[in-house]
Amino acid sequence: MNPIFNQGTSPAHRLILVLCCSVALIFFDHKMASFETARGYLQSLVSPLQYMANAPKQMMTWASENIVIRQQLMEENQNFRESELFFHEQMMQLSIVRQENERLRSLLSSPVRGEIKKMFAEILSVDSDPYSHQVLINRGANDGVYEGQPVLDEKGIVGQILHVGVSSSRVILISDISHAIPVRVQRNGLRLIASGSGQIDRLIHNFVPHSWDVKEGDLLVTSGLGGKYPEGYPVSRVVLVRADESREFATIYSEPVAQIDRLRYMLLLSKDEPAKSTSPLTTKKKSVGKS
């Protein structure tokens, strides 16, 4: 080792070269989005690293799940049985209501809502990058995950798939600053847009006139507009409405219903095949036309 007589390019030249590379990368990745496919490959390339980084946490959860006393297990079991009974009762009601709804919808000759396919996923890791709210899940292209797929937990909408790798993929959360989701107020059907604020417990609603009837405590559900998220899933609850007349629009903040800061299990919804959803519509139209 003799760094004094080191041959090769000087640090300054190296720095300039490397900075040019960075600027080119940033430009092509951000402005042109030309790395989408390459990102998928890179994602799968580094996923062993992610699985290994996740190992300590997995061990901890494994330990905490295995070291449980019998009493706790029995109590938990009891709770599950009770809630299962409730859910069964609701299911019975639901099937009747669904049938009725389908019949009414077919009478009105509007398209019947198809079944939504669901896939179970577990969280792998949360990004430590404070500028973006993303999490990694253990499902990828092998399981049929696609870009833009909606993700939810047991309470409400969590986000959508951003990048798909082979065995893992990245979910952008609704609280990310670059994310927005079309919603409507469940109470009266007013349509709003919920944009992420970069803070985990706050969504911002821009361009809402003062005259609109939005109150604190209103539940906002997905409106199904935009075609990304299916209709009717809870998104957030309004926590603040400030009607300052000196401003052009009302200031409205809401808090996500889903527990975004303690995610563990999630559901991926997938659209059913278009052939399936259109077939009842076309047959119905024909029958309507005949009658």
Partner: protein, 159 residues
């Protein structure tokens, strides 16, 4: 880099990469030190002929992929911070460990500010003071990392 126990350098860098993405509770996560930067700075001070700006850039690039940020952001910031070390490595080497720790603090702050500026330039993120909490942990961590990595270097006789 791969000859003469360069493999160990790569291994320490990989462990640093893993440490920077392991899941942590939110309150601890704000204080997560820049493991990759600290390890890179040590190797740059100890073996500037083996670890250079290119290594730093590649590590930053992998960090970009791991964190899902716009490709090139962390790579750029990492290269800039390591450049300062590479240019001044003979001065920094002669400082005491605590003085070095302060320099690491400055480098870490610079790294985070560059990342913030680039992100600010790309999307409208707002600055929160807790983006700079890792600077504190980096300063506290440096002496221990220095001793640990020096022991690793001497044990494996990496030259």
């Amino acid at each position: 880099m791969f000859s003469n126990n360069g493999f160990i350098i790569l291994l320490t860098l990989l462990i640093a990469l893993m440490a920077s993405i392991t899941p942590m509770p939110l309150s601890v996560d704000a204080f997560r030190p820049d493991w990759v930067l600290i390890v890179l700075v040590y190797w740059c001070l100890a073996l500037p002929n083996k670890v250079n700006i290119f290594t730093a850039w590649v590590m930053g690039f992998i960090l970009d992929v791991l964190l899902g940020s716009v490709l090139g952001v962390h790579a750029c910031a990492m290269a800039l911070s390591v450049y300062i070390v590479v240019v001044n490595f003979q001065k920094i080497r002669n400082f005491s460990v605590w003085q070095q720790a302060l320099i690491i603090g400055v480098l870490s702050a610079q790294y985070h500010l560059v990342v913030f500026w680039l992100q600010r330039f790309l999307s409208d993120v707002v600055f929160l003071p807790n983006y700079l909490y890792p600077v504190i942990t980096a300063i506290v961590l440096w002496p221990w990392m220095f001793l640990l990595l020096r022991r690793v270097r001497r044990h494996f006789r990496i030259e």
